[in-house]
């Protein structure tokens, strides 16, 4: 019996010949149809290893792909491509290409922690997703996204301003980096109550850690250290 036409498009890479003879026996009907080999190759097994060797990514190996993380995910509602379960699956297979194609979604985690909280296997999903994203960034496979730019800006502001941060400092720095932060109207709404209540004085006052000059170089030294899960 030949393969029904309806089913042909489902089976990809089908080879069918009019006449096939194997060991002197002529094959006909379904027996002369072959599927070409579909084993996917070229995956990079080292992706899983490298991610599992970070403290954030160590729990990637516990995942059993149930999808609890993804079904409750905040971001999924706004971005149908956002799927922590799939990111973990692709990273474990080592399918870098598929991950690169998802780069406009990967960075958008808002760290609401529902996934980590609900995972029945104890995967720290939020940390693992950031670890996967960091892997791609580290190897220069994806472009720098707004989230990463902001995160770096945040750390830079902390280091520059004596170990603390304020909304004014951060707002100023992000405006400089090109994130649209506030309209004139927002600024006016904001300044009114701050002036009236006298809080503005507290906000303007410099606020630094006392011996920051001693702490900062230690932090900079520590940041060069490779951290492994042990």
């Amino acid at each position: 019996m030949p393969i029904p036409n309806l089913e042909k498009p489902i089976i990809k890479g089908l080879i069918q010949k009019d006449k096939v003879i194997v060991d002197g026996v002529e094959l006909d009907g379904t027996w002369n149809a072959f599927m070409i080999e579909r084993t996917q190759t070229g995956y990079d097994q080292s992706v899983w290893d490298e991610i599992a060797n970070t403290i954030e990514g160590a729990t990637i190996s516990l995942c059993w792909q149930c999808g609890t993380c993804t079904s409750g995910c905040t971001m999924r509602e706004y971005d149908p491509n956002y799927s922590p379960r799939r990111f973990i699956d692709l990273a474990r297979k080592g399918d870098k290409q598929a991950l690169i194609e998802l780069q406009d979604s990967l960075w958008r985690c808002v760290s609401c922690q529902k996934c980590t909280h609900r995972c029945p296997k104890g995967v720290l999903v939020e940390e693992v997703v950031h670890s996967i994203h960091n892997y791609l960034l580290k190897h220069g496979l994806v472009k720098r996204d707004p989230g990463t730019i902001f995160d770096e800006l945040f750390l830079e502001t902390v280091m520059k301003n004596g170990g603390r941060i304020s909304e004014l400092l951060l707002g100023g720095a992000s405006a400089k980096a090109g994130f649209v932060t506030m309209s004139l109207r927002d600024l006016i709404t904001m300044m009114g109550p701050l002036m009236k209540s006298g809080l503005i004085k507290d906000l303007m006052k410099p606020n630094r850690v006392k011996n920051w000059d001693r702490i900062k170089p230690v932090l900079e030294e520590a940041m060069k250290e490779e951290v492994v899960p042990e």
Partner: protein, 306 residues
């Protein structure tokens, strides 16, 4: 006078940058309210930024060392528990405790760096708590009720806890002990507000995300999430959104104009820190409770109780 039970021992407050910034009203009223209730805590004066949800994504070690230094400072003060008013700080400190417990070699490394900074090694002996838990587990709703001078009868409020007050349980330990709130449907703040005489409306957006970490880098998503919180509160008839998270509070307040423009003017709603409402109900003036400092003008609703 109700008797105060303190299950925490000596409590240190980690103020975090938010409480010294736009969240000043939260800081001032927390002090006011705890003094009224006879609760004591000591502030960590020379604290540094906890790294929030940003630093950990850039550098693993910095994401652990920044909070670890604060924990070490708290232990040097002889504290048994660290209270954060900001759930973001609560999360960061708890996260560091988690990783330092889980990986002993990492703990040693962190401690070596702490000593280089001139601090003591951190001995892992702290319990991380949030301001809501602190008030709830010490004086409790009864203690709060006994102190009310200005009952807020008929005031409809929606308590917004934010993501990180309960989540994730691995770090914050919610659901693991009686001192911690329910992880999916927290009630501690609800009960404190009910004790003020206010009516807590059904509110299913208690712990949904406000998009805080991406409020600058992914504004449309943040606006959408914030609008959802306000919609849910409005739909259930709330007049005030009560917050315990300076991140969410500031994000929603500063984005209010944009939300109103995009999702409808009727979503405008005043926001109040829960300690501000407590202070107001305890008889403090709006100026003392710094209700005048809120960008969203809560006095438009609260003036009927003056």
């Amino acid at each position: 006078m109700t008797q105060t039970i303190n299950p925490y021992g000596k409590v240190a407050l980690y103020p975090g940058c938010a409480l010294d910034g736009l969240g000043k009203a939260y800081d001032v009223t927390l002090q006011l309210v705890t003094r009224d209730l006879g609760l004591e805590y000591e502030k960590i004066d020379d604290y540094n930024c906890c790294g929030a949800l940003e630093v950990k994504n850039v550098n693993t070690m910095a994401g652990l060392l920044l909070p670890a230094r604060n924990l070490s400072l708290a232990r040097q003060m002889g504290a048994n528990a660290v209270m954060s008013a900001c759930p973001g700080c609560h999360y960061s400190l708890s996260r560091t405790q988690y990783f330092m417990t889980r990986y002993p070699k990492l703990r040693e490394k962190v401690n070596v760096y702490l000593e280089k900074m001139g601090e003591k090694q951190y001995d892992m002996q702290l319990l991380m708590i949030h301001a809501v838990e602190f008030i709830y587990n010490t004086v409790g709703p009864e203690g709060v009720k006994a102190r009310v001078k200005r009952p807020l009868a008929g005031l409809k409020v929606a308590p917004y806890y934010g993501c990180l007050y309960t989540r994730p349980k691995a770090y914050t330990l919610t659901g693991y002990m009686k001192l911690k709130d329910d992880p999916e449907r927290p009630v501690f703040m609800d009960e404190l507000l009910t004790a003020l005489g206010a009516e807590v409306v059904p509110f299913e957006a208690k712990t949904i995300c406000c998009g805080g970490p991406h409020v600058y880098s992914d504004l449309p998503t943040s606006l959408h999430l914030e609008a959802r919180i306000l919609k849910e509160a409005k739909r259930n008839g709330a007049e005030l959104l009560i917050t315990d998270c300076p991140l969410g509070h500031v994000a929603i307040e500063t984005n209010m104009n944009k939300i109103a423009e995009k999702y409808g003017k009727d979503l405008r709603m005043p926001l109040v820190y829960f300690t501000q409402l407590l202070a107001f109900a305890f008889g403090h003036s709006p100026e003392e409770a710094l209700l005048t400092a809120n960008l969203s003008d809560p006095m438009s609703v609260l003036k009927r109780y003056l």
